[in-house]
């Protein structure tokens, strides 16, 4: 079943992250979007204020609404109930039903209720697998959720409501995979992934990342993905880069209730905050000690507001990074906020072809190259793949280190080399190299990103550059050079030993900035 209209529009992408627009019955929602949780009964920060702050989509609980304000909600609609005129997502309360063992509620009644209250994004009454469920139980829960989801979707009205298919399975990746495939087949316009609280609590970001990527690999780009319960600045860049478009959380309020202050890199008890490094309306009005001395409710609400600003700032940083084509840089930098987050970096370095799909062929900004992880960034991998297909009939190969001037064919180094190899010039294949980008043939030296990178001039381990080694080998195998000349440097010498080819080394210095030479300790 094909969706009736294009509900999700993609504007820009980087890695698996994208800036998009969700078209809903209550206006447009730009993604990636943090979706604040609004309590249908005891919400102390008005949803209106949250809208003014720039959140165009919120989530509330349909189950609690049904139980506590059922008739009223059917009469007035959910937008009046929580006093919010933007787009609303309703969680069906699967967790609550499981927890309270409520047998009065069934998925048909729930779906009917979600229709009647005119929520913009509705979720079928699923059976969350959580974490640590036996395979047998998990299979049963996933099966139930799929059955309910299909029936609910088939019974939907053509009323502009967007039904979200809930992916279950958590740590059982085959279930996550199968569950996603089925929901896509049913025709869901949007999917949502249950993120086990346990992953978050134990900081198992690598597992979270693997779960998301498992689901994403089974979804077409045109379907947006929601991630449940993951709205902390520490998780957001990871989730977005993996392809989550929306993500909800009540953390802004839950943390505030425990006097916890959200920053870009973590959450700190207000007791331990000496300096507010945030210029929001709350942090410029109060000092940390002043907030601590406010009456409880006042303290909680002020902190919750700051927490919302802090989360919004993170989302905006990530969006701006996508806009600038720097999401890789941003995610890898953010990874250094916590050692467990750093572990998730391996998911990025080991799924290059997946991430490559969302990366534009050309970017306006130069890419940054810091350390070994960067040899696996999509732009770099693409360049390696191009060079591995490069063919030349020339018999003499010359390789030197890259220099400050780019592209190679416009550089002073190239002129110097031409003079040196003037006798065989027509039969010489000139190449630069760079530990990250590998071999850069003169002819490809203006292909992105060969002339568009800024690299750290830091000590690096030769052995770390496995992509370089592979490309060099392929390059030498595919092209039948009779003589090979290489600049006499440690990096090339190390790698030449691996090739088993006879290589003549010559002394060649790159023109480097004067600054580097002048400061001696």
């Amino acid at each position: 079943m094909k969706p009736e209209y294009e509900m999700f529009e993609i504007k820009k992408s980087d890695l698996a992250g994208r800036i998009g627009i969700l078209h809903t019955n209550h206006g447009k929602v730009e993604t990636p979007a943090y979706v604040p949780v609004i309590h249908p009964v005891k919400q102390s920060i008005p949803a209106k204020k949250i809208k003014e702050m720039g959140f165009d989509l919120v989530i509330t609980n349909a189950y609690i609404t049904l139980k506590q304000r059922g008739n009223e909600a059917v009469e007035k609609g959910i937008h009046k109930i929580i006093d919010y005129d933007g787009a609303i997502m309703t969680d069906s309360g699967g967790y609550q039903v499981l927890e309270y063992g409520d047998i009065d509620t069934n998925y048909k009644a729930m779906a009917e209720f979600e229709k009647k209250i005119a929520t913009d994004f509705a979720i079928p009454l699923d059976k969350p697998t959580g974490f640590g469920l036996s395979k047998k139980k998990a299979i049963e829960y996933v099966g139930h959720t799929l059955k309910v989801s299909k029936e609910t979707l088939d019974a939907r009205d053509n009323n502009g409501q967007i039904w979200i298919g809930p992916i279950q399975g958590s740590e059982h990746s085959d279930l996550v995979r199968g569950s996603t495939r089925e929901l896509v087949k049913y025709g869901f316009q949007m999917l949502a992934l249950g993120s086990p609280v346990e992953f978050m609590e134990s900081y198992e970001y690598r597992l979270l990342a693997q779960m998301i990527i498992t689901a994403k690999k089974e979804m077409p780009d045109s379907i947006p993905l929601h991630l449940f319960g993951a709205g902390h600045p520490l998780t957001i860049p990871l989730a977005v880069a993996l392809g989550c478009d929306t993500f909800d959380s009540a953390s802004y309020m839950l943390y505030a209730k425990h006097d916890r202050y959200i920053t870009e890199d973590g959450t700190t008890h207000l007791d331990e905050v000496s300096y507010f490094s945030c210029p929001c309306e709350i942090c410029t009005k109060f000092k940390p000690k002043e907030i601590l001395s406010l009456p409880r409710d006042d303290r909680t609400n002020n902190l919750a507001l700051h927490n919302l600003y802090s989360i919004k700032a993170e989302v905006d940083r990530v969006k701006q990074s996508i806009h600038e084509g720097r999401l890789w840089e941003y995610v890898l930098k953010k990874a250094r906020a916590h050692p467990k987050l750093f572990e998730a970096a391996s998911v990025f370095t080991s799924n290059t072809s997946f991430f490559s799909q969302g990366v534009p062929a050309f970017k306006e900004n130069a890419i940054f190259l810091f350390s070994k992880e960067d040899q696996f960034r999509p732009e770099v991998t693409r360049f390696h793949n191009m060079v591995r297909k490069f063919r030349t009939g020339k018999k003499n190969l010359v390789i030197v280190a890259d220099g400050p001037m780019k592209p190679f064919y416009l550089s002073a180094e190239y002129n110097k080399l031409k003079r040196k190899f003037t006798k065989k010039i027509d039969d010489t294949q000139f190449c630069q190299y760079n530990p990250y980008l590998g071999i850069i043939p003169l002819e490809l030296s203006d292909m992105y990103p060969a002339a568009h990178y800024v690299m750290s001039n830091s000590q690096c381990n030769q052995e770390d550059f496995t992509e370089f080694a592979t490309t060099l080998n392929v390059f030498l195998k595919q092209n039948k050079f009779k003589t090979i000349h290489a600049a006499n440097d440690d990096f090339l010498k190390y790698h030449s030993r691996l090739t088993k080819k006879k290589i003549r080394f010559f002394n060649f210095k790159t023109t480097i900035g004067r600054a580097k030479k002048q400061f001696r300790k």
Copy 2:
């Protein structure tokens, strides 16, 4: 000459950075402090507003004040001239004098003027070396500056003014060193380091870091250091961690004039900003496009205000990092904002004993261990040094990997090992190891940070851990073990080969969280 009173008070420190208080004629200034440049004639953002934003120290130009508002300034004092009741620093205008070749102005008159206008921090009329000056010329300039500085200081009044000794020499490190030594000897209560604009413009952060550290090594802790012209969020963490207490810059205004928006990681032309990731009063009021459409002056002032908020937020993040004992983490993370900044990381890994001085013996927070650089963080180096002095008479050594429960002697692993080696238990030295911390003898396993770290469980290169190798060797040399038992893992096997000792390997698994095992791709 000993200063009359304690003008600078240190509250807390981490690496070479510190939180301190400068006591001035116009109140206390908490450091590290960004010192906004105020133009004495054409300042469009009122200094009063800047004070309200939380900047308790500003800098203005004494030379321009003298030339354009000389008599008025003497009559009213500099605080009335710029309408600011906090502490004021005055730059003497060395650059201007050099540039305009003004021979009417001499250092005695300048010093007299700075006294009369009652500035809080005065600077003698120096001769800045800038960058790229020949050694001969640089020696001449440094000599002149030292002579002027000594005479000016000797002629000072006992009026509470703080005279700042200007360190010159830029890329000539011997001149920086000598110049610092002399100024300290003269009795300056505070020093300032000229940061060559060229270092900043070419992003030569490593050179900047080397220059700062060269000066710092010649200064007692009790003397605060000002850094000229370095007030960008990209530079601030580096400067603070290296021991700069105050730093001025006009960048908030200069960038604003060119429609440039300062963020934590760089500066972006407003044209390229799609999302304001800042919750300050300006960024919540306007969208990027709206600011661009404001009349020029309005646009500039609004942008300048945001830029000030952005810089202040960075300073507060750095202060909070010192407060939490996480400055190492913060600086190393920030280093990934730009490849040239990343180069400066080597200054931190290669000056451990210098940075160690400011690091408390015990911290409340666990240290984070991400990658090879972290083996050189002061807390870790100290632990290595302690273990290298460890002596035992026991003849049997057992080494296993560290586990999740700390300290070692309370862990399940230790119990398991005790059972395994029960026969020789009184003669057995039990140790854990960790690639970063090295060997952890049972007896030292609760010494900070052996039980206070969070480590990334990422693949690491055995060869990168040179500190581990050294400690293992020293440990085996100093203690005469007859038998050595080691857990059979790749890391220990690699390092055991380096020791040339006979080692018996046995299979031993650490108890790890169930989560790690369960998610398989």
